[in-house]
């Protein structure tokens, strides 16, 4: 038996949140029913987009490729079940993203898989290609393509792979159930990731408030060289940077990735998906989602097909509209507030929270900042959120940048503790977007300037060349004339 006791200290800049996990942590994973339609999100990591490669009216099988990333990465999206393509219509969400709608036929016919049980003997490049084609992306929320991250790691050379099973945000129990019930499959995926990343050392990190998941992990890891590290319970222990610092004692320099310290992090659900994709050939078409909140009559941990709408999911589990205050997709702090029931569950959404009173972000009328500093006390990036707030609101982007706005990990701890109920993270996201826009504009202006200068230089060169050519011509003409003259005067 491994020791349960943890020696890792709780960092001073952290938050002790009510867990709310007891509502769903003992409920086994159950498959969500097959709903009439799916709205598969086509948005990808970092504002990217997948282009549908099927036509409206076409019939597809479960697991068939329906869209391909337009960035040339080879990432593919797959139909989560069999049905007919309805079309890719504009999605009335908060962003101008697209979804691919599929009318489900209810047969749930699956396409042929290509499992690679002998993956250890295969070329890693081939496996990465396979992983990318299976559409495996980061399940923690960012949805970064797993194969791209692994390729970077392999190229850079890393010595440690950290599997993030901290699941520190309140309400979320999807990873905990996954580990409790399918620890062998998860560890299979972890081995695939470790092989692809070329990591000598593998650590699975989990918070100490999940005893059954820890017991399952210990059983699955018995006799293995994969380390299990038990983290103290705090928010945000599952944030990549905080986790790496906690485990290695080193900080990831600003603007750098964990790779810089020779570390690669992957979410535990990503590892599971990678194992399914490589060993069993199953593309990423479903994930475990915790559906919870006071306003849900039958909360649970559901295995949900990607593209299932929040409306279908909540109606199926019984939505109590009397109690409902807000719906958040992806957790109470880091998730997005959802106002449209047609919003689909994506690959990076571990939770659908139908929050009642006191469950979501603190609500109330926003009041002026009194610079009490509660936010600075909990900020894991050790920023001064109250100053960033002032700069962001005043549009002083340079000062915001100088005070480390880009180091904000958007964990939401500041907004959670703010006595004035200021939606700080929303402010920061806005300011970051403004900075990105300004940078793009500046880059474009710089580009235009360079183009102009090059054009001017080219014109000058052309003028000069023309001048030289003219002079040469004149010289030639002069010579001809002189010759002619000499001929006439000198018979």
């Amino acid at each position: 038996m491994m020791r349960r006791r943890h020696q890792l200290p709780v960092p001073p800049h952290s938050l002790d949140l009510p867990s709310h996990k007891q509502r769903t942590r003992d409920l086994p994973i159950e498959p969500a029913p097959l709903f009439d339609r799916l709205r598969l999100p086509l948005s990808l990591y970092g504002g990217g987009q997948a282009r549908p490669c099927v036509n409206p009216g076409e019939h597809v099988l479960g697991g068939e490729v329906v869209a391909v990333a337009d960035d040339g990465s080879g990432l593919q999206l797959h139909a989560p079940t069999s049905g007919r393509i309805v079309g890719a219509d504009g999605w009335r969400g908060s962003h101008d993203l697209q979804v691919l709608e599929i009318a489900v036929d209810g047969e749930d016919c699956a396409a042929q898989h290509t499992p690679l049980p002998q993956w250890q003997d295969l070329d890693p490049a081939l496996l990465l290609q396979h992983l990318q084609a299976a559409g495996v992306v980061g399940a923690g929320g960012a949805r970064f393509p797993a194969a791209t991250k692994l390729a970077q790691a392999a190229a850079h050379g890393i010595d440690c792979l950290i599997i993030n099973a901290a699941e520190c945000e309140p309400h979320l129990t999807a990873d905990e159930r996954l580990l409790t019930e399918r620890s062998a499959a998860v560890i299979e995926g972890v081995r695939v990731l470790a092989h692809l990343a070329g990591a000598g050392r593998v650590i699975v990190a989990i918070e100490d408030d999940k005893p059954t998941a820890i017991a399952a992990l210990e059983a699955a890891l018995a006799g293995s060289d994969i380390e299990l590290r038990i983290l103290p319970r705090f928010y945000p222990s599952g944030s990549e940077r905080q986790l790496v610092t906690l485990l290695t004692g080193r900080e990831i320099p600003s603007g750098r990735l964990p790779l810089h310290l020779g570390v690669l992090c992957h979410n535990v659900a990503t590892a599971w998906a990678a194992g399914r994709a490589i060993v069993h050939g199953e593309p990423l078409t479903r994930r475990i989602v915790t559906v919870t909140g006071i306003a849900v009559n039958r909360p649970g941990n559901l295995e949900v097909r990607l593209g299932t709408t929040i409306g279908d999911l909540l109606t199926d589990r019984g939505l109590d509209r009397e109690q409902l205050r807000e719906i958040r997709l992806g957790g109470p702090l880091t998730g997005r507030r959802i106002d449209d029931f047609n919003t689909p569950v994506g690959a990076g959404s571990p939770c659908v929270l139908a929050a009642g009173d006191g469950e979501g972000m603190p609500t109330g009328v926003e009041q002026p900042c009194i610079r009490c500093g509660a936010c600075a006390e909990v900020c894991p990036a050790q920023l001064q959120p109250q100053l960033l707030h002032r700069f962001a609101r005043a549009g002083d982007l340079d000062s915001a940048r100088e005070h480390g706005l880009s180091d904000c990990i958007e964990c939401g701890a500041c907004a959670w503790v703010c006595p004035s109920r200021i939606p700080l993270v929303a402010d920061y996201r806005q300011a970051k977007a403004d900075i990105a826009r300004a940078d793009t504009a500046r880059a474009e202006a710089e580009h235009a300037r360079l183009r102009h200068e090059r054009r001017q230089a080219r014109l000058a060169r052309e003028r000069e060349a023309a001048e030289t050519a003219r002079k040469a011509r004149l010289k030639r003409v002069g010579a001809v004339v002189a010759r002619a003259r000499s001929r006439t005067t000198d018979p």
């Binding site: 600003s254 810089h260 009041q367 500093g373 050790q382 100053l387 180091d407 959670w416 004035s420």
Partner: protein, 337 residues
């Protein structure tokens, strides 16, 4: 690690609650006049806040509902002499809100502590009234004026307050002790009290208790500013104590438990809006206030110095913030390759 998340109103209610021990001791020492002055100051602050919010077309409910005007009025009222004429109290409270807070854009925008702005305006405008304090109970058979009597005196104005009820504060009296040594002054003056002025020792201990409640139990503010201020004040007092000669600046205890020291340390310099932001900044801010309080008490023209010390450091707070920015995660510790 932090857990609770009270709203602004919750914060302000806790502050009000924590002033109650100090207010109770003041009441016992100086009679109902204290309460009347505090209530007048609160009423004046609320009325001025409501007026400004109405003029600025803001919601009265959210503007007044945060409780900050009540706290400003309360802190000003606690700092004012009990028999100050009603109109001065009202004027001071109104100016505290209008010139101290609302002209800058309301709560959160003010560079100076509003209560101290009001106090400073009154002190420079009405120096006589502002330095004439009620005499504490028990001193030379003083019995504080009753409620009706106090109300009559406050409404009638300073000229009517009998000399038997008022006098200088111990700090003031100590400063003008002529050539007496500290020991001689203590023997001669009934105002000297045990070690920090009759009555004032208990007032300060009561505010200390309330402040410690806010700091340690409620965790409303960190220890940096109060500890910085009290330490600096104590160190200065030790430096200029010189064993208690006729030119002594007074003992450390005299300064720590005299005048408005504890009220300032836990209720004034802890104001987050007008103070410094980072822990290190708050420590420096507190130290600055402590040093200035001592300098003004010992070498300045005013008997107590909290208001001016705080206002001066308020002006310095942005600079302190600029030079005490905490290191951000991922910056500085490791050289980026």
């Amino acid at each position: 690690m932090m857990r609770s998340r009270p709203g602004t109103f919750g914060v302000m209610s806790q502050v009000v609650l924590a002033t109650l021990p100090g207010l109770a001791v003041l009441l016992w020492l100086f009679g109902p006049a204290v309460l009347l002055t505090v209530l007048l100051a609160v009423a004046g602050a609320l009325a001025a806040d409501a007026l400004a919010l109405w003029l600025r077309d803001r919601s009265l409910k959210t503007g007044l509902g945060d409780g900050s005007a009540v706290v400003t009025g309360l802190l000003l009222g606690l700092a004012l002499p009990p028999f100050l004429p009603a109109w001065m109290t009202l004027l001071g409270a109104a100016l505290a809100i209008l010139l101290g807070k609302q002209v800058y854009g309301g709560l959160g925008q003010n560079p100076f502590n509003p209560a101290m702005v009001g106090y400073a305006i009154l002190l420079v405008s009405f120096p006589l009234e502002m330095t004439t304090w009620a005499l504490p109970r028990g001193l030379a058979d003083v019995e504080p004026a009753g409620l009706m009597e106090a109300a009559r005196l406050i409404l009638a104005g300073s000229a009517d307050v009998p000399d038997a009820l008022t006098g200088a504060t111990p700090l003031d009296h100590f400063k003008h002790r002529e050539s007496l040594t500290v020991a001689e002054w203590q023997a001669a003056s009934g105002l000297a009290g045990r070690f920090a002025g009759a009555g004032w020792e208990s007032v300060n201990l009561a505010f200390l208790a309330g402040g410690l409640y806010l700091m340690l139990v409620r965790r409303l503010f960190s220890w940096h500013a109060p500890v910085g201020m009290l330490t600096a004040l104590g160190v200065c007092a030790v430096l200029f104590w010189d064993g208690g000669s006729s030119s002594s600046g007074g003992s450390p205890l005299f300064h720590l438990l005299g005048g408005a020291t504890m009220l300032a340390a836990f209720f004034i310099v802890t104001d987050p809006v007008s103070g410094a932001t980072s822990p290190r900044g708050r420590l420096l801010f507190g130290i600055g206030v402590g040093v200035l309080i001592y300098m003004i008490r010992a070498f300045g023209g005013y008997p107590d110095a909290v208001a001016f010390a705080v206002l001066l450091m308020n002006a310095a707070a942005p600079f302190i913030d600029h030079f005490t920015r905490p290191r951000v995660y991922g910056h500085g510790r490791e050289r980026s390759a």
